[in-house]
């Protein structure tokens, strides 16, 4: 909340000529993009495309082999992860990383207190309760993280991000293995955070959610950013089709605008959700 004032200031993320190699393996090759304001961006690509590496570089966990990243004019690619988080970039992980032997409340207090050096626990407990209300997890406040279901642990990670209150959020597969009812909450979470003026980068293999939610799509293919633009345009890009979406059938486009998507939550066919971890199966279904 304290950053709300700053938030009105245009958010700017600049990724310039990013390279990353592990030994002889080129994982990212001259990746460039800019984010201005509260954009809602989908990031897709086949396994090994470099999505997670890109995320780890943006978050400070990995240093790039070349290139720079600026967040609101501040260079962040040289910073350690905790300073990147404090500078305003938050993320979730592909495999859920709830603090299992800490209570749900403690999980939420960690980012809030890390961000405010002199604050006391009590100051943030009220905010944490609001977050838990929003996530419909109030009854779990004092339970340990390990007692939560996989989906609830994903929600808890999103709750921690609300407490961190970053300017830009990277969500790595937030819908994987999540029950449709909890997916509704994640959708709401995304719209709420976006409405608050934060940019969101959404990584998912679930094309339906990507096309429903994103207003801009980035496509990575073996280290190259092969497309960046309006999802409806990108999906017809021959390079993207060849690399990821497939040639035969178009990916399911959002039937209506994102506004209606707020309320028309995933109308999944029985058996379609969770049935295929195989991304090809999902994309071409």
């Amino acid at each position: 909340m304290s950053k709300q004032g700053d938030m009105q200031q245009e958010l700017a993320l600049d990724v310039n000529h990013l390279f990353k190699n592990f030994g002889g393996l080129q994982v990212l090759s001259d990746v460039n993009f800019k984010i201005r304001g509260p954009e809602l961006i989908g990031l897709i690509g086949p396994n090994g495309a470099g999505k997670t590496t890109l995320t780890n570089i943006l978050d400070g966990a990995l240093k790039p082999s070349g290139g720079t990243v600026y967040l609101n004019g501040k260079r962040i690619d040289t910073l350690p992860p905790y300073l990147v988080a404090r500078a305003g970039l938050g993320r979730t992980f592909q495999v859920t990383r709830a603090f299992r032997r800490m209570t749900v409340m403690e999980n939420l207090l960690v980012p809030a207190m890390a961000l405010h050096a002199t604050a006391s626990r009590r100051e943030f407990e009220e905010k944490a309760r609001e977050v838990l209300d929003f996530l419909t997890m109030s009854h779990l406040t004092n339970e340990y993280g390990r007692a939560l279901s996989g989906g609830q642990q994903k929600l808890l990670e999103l709750g921690r991000l609300l407490m961190l209150d970053p300017r830009i959020v990277i969500l790595d597969e937030p819908f994987a293995g999540v029950h449709p009812r909890l997916m509704e909450i994640i959708y709401e979470w995304i719209y709420r955070v976006n409405d608050e003026g934060k940019a969101i980068i959404l990584i998912s293999h679930d094309m339906e959610t990507i096309f429903t939610l994103s207003k801009r799509l980035l496509v990575l293919n073996y280290g190259d950013l092969i497309a960046d633009g309006d999802p409806d345009v990108v999906k017809d890009d021959p390079l993207v089709k060849a690399a990821y979406l497939g040639e035969d059938e178009p990916a399911p486009a959002s039937p209506a605008g994102p506004e209606s998507a707020k309320f028309a939550l995933p109308t999944r066919q029985p058996g379609q959700d969770d049935s295929a971890d195989d991304e090809e199966g999902r994309v071409n279904a």
Partner: protein
């Protein structure tokens, strides 16, 4: 409910502390039990501080006894080699020190009886009325704690990138190197013979109108108890503060903690430093109480004993670890009593370690959180399950009429 938990959190430890304060009224007459009590506090400090490092922060270090030894040896070296004189000796290494002279004596050699002390030579030439002062052991305590803290900082910084097995191996290596160095530097440390340390109160002390000699157990009991209580207070503050929150988050997931803004390096090094200082303080007081310090306190068995105490009590709870230390120490003493069943006499002086090993194995296999920690958890978290169910039921009850009025009740089924 709040009142009850406050009572448990503050009242119970306060009552226990009070009991320990008045315990000498009953046990004061038995030097043997007093000795066990002092030793129990010493191990309780080590086990509780190690539980902060290993249980809360997840840094399974074998160097804890090394920090204890560094503290004890720093104080012993200070007591053996540092003197203050009112005039320059001209024969010793000395530096001006607040209008006096701080003298560093020569290495004492293998046997103290054969030493040729530069001060003995100086005495003959020093003017009448000049004084040679043995500085207070309490400054030695400070020196030992600072030395322990510095090594804690160093080791904490060196092991930042090491996890689990590698951290354990590194710290075992450090501990063995320290033992070898102390054993090898015979001229300075007297090697296996050990360094003598002055009693806590060399001239005795008067407490509550009673005069106690240097060898009485009551004064060291209160000194070790005071140190134990102060350290438990600091530890309980640490675990309930932001430090406690962050180190547990680091234990759970270092990368996720960093991604949430936690300065992992700072808190890992900090917890190493704090716990090393605590171990060092315990080492200094124990050294002065026992009167001698030898490199044998660094054998792996000693560290294993502290680990066993914390594990049997409960690694993730400082109070459980401290209680585990006390129970184990007294338990091992009780097991010394041999007994006879029919024609067979069991010599428990040797078999007690078997019993101890069995308890440790059973704890590790069946009670991963120790024997004491689950009891504390049961008391402190007894309402959590009930609250969770009540809140969930309340939420369901609140949601049902809304769904009915909205007329969409069945849509999300």
């Amino acid at each position: 409910m709040m009142k009850r938990s406050t009572l448990l959190r503050i009242g119970l430890p306060a009552a226990l502390a009070f009991l320990l304060l008045i315990a000498p009224l009953w046990i004061g007459g038995s030097p043997y039990i007093m000795h066990l009590a002092i030793t129990a506090f010493y191990y309780a400090i080590l086990a509780a501080s190690w539980s902060l490092l290993a249980g809360y922060a997840g840094q399974f270090s074998f160097a804890h006894m090394s920090f204890m030894a560094i503290g004890a040896y720093a104080a012993a070296l200070y007591g053996t080699y540092i003197r203050i004189t009112t005039v320059a000796t001209e024969t010793c290494r000395e530096i001006p020190f607040f209008g006096r002279w701080l003298v560093i004596l020569d290495p004492i050699g293998i046997s103290q009886s054969s030493q040729t002390n530069c001060l003995d030579l100086a005495r003959q030439t020093m003017p009448a009325g000049s004084m040679i002062i043995q500085p207070s052991i309490w400054w030695g305590l400070l020196f030992g704690v600072v030395a322990g803290g510095l090594f804690g900082l160093l080791i904490g910084a060196l092991v930042l990138r090491l996890r689990s097995t590698y951290l354990a191996l590194f710290t075992i290596g450090f501990s063995e190197i320290l033992r070898a160095v102390i054993s090898a530097e015979i001229d300075i440390t007297q090697g296996q013979s050990g360094l003598e340390m002055a009693p806590l109160f060399p001239n005795g002390i008067t407490l509550f109108g009673h005069s106690y000699s240097a060898s009485d157990k009551i004064p060291p009991y209160y000194v070790m108890l005071a140190l134990f209580l102060v350290i438990m207070l600091i530890l309980s503050w640490v675990v309930s503060s932001r430090i406690g929150l962050f180190i547990r988050a680091i234990r759970e997931d270092q990368e996720a903690s960093a991604a949430l803004g936690v300065h992992v390096v700072r808190y890992k090094v900090l917890v190493f430093t704090i716990t090393a200082m605590m171990a060092a303080a315990a080492g200094v007081i124990q050294g002065h109480y026992i009167g001698i310090i030898t490199p044998n306190i660094l054998i792996i068995l000693q560290m294993s004993l502290v680990i066993a105490m914390a594990v049997i009590g409960g690694l993730e709870n400082i109070y459980a670890a401290a209680i585990g230390a006390v129970i184990l120490l007294f338990g091992l003493e009780l097991l010394r009593n041999s007994f006879t069943i029919g024609p067979v006499t069991i010599d428990m002086t040797t078999w007690r370690l078997v019993a101890f090993g069995l308890v440790l194995m059973i704890t590790l296999r069946f009670f991963r959180n120790g024997l004491i920690s689950p009891l504390i958890d049961r008391v402190m978290r007894r309402n959590v399950a009930r609250e969770t169910v009540a809140l969930r039921n309340a939420a369901t009850a609140a949601a049902t009429p809304t769904a009915t009025t909205a007329g969409e009740g069945g849509s999300d089924e």
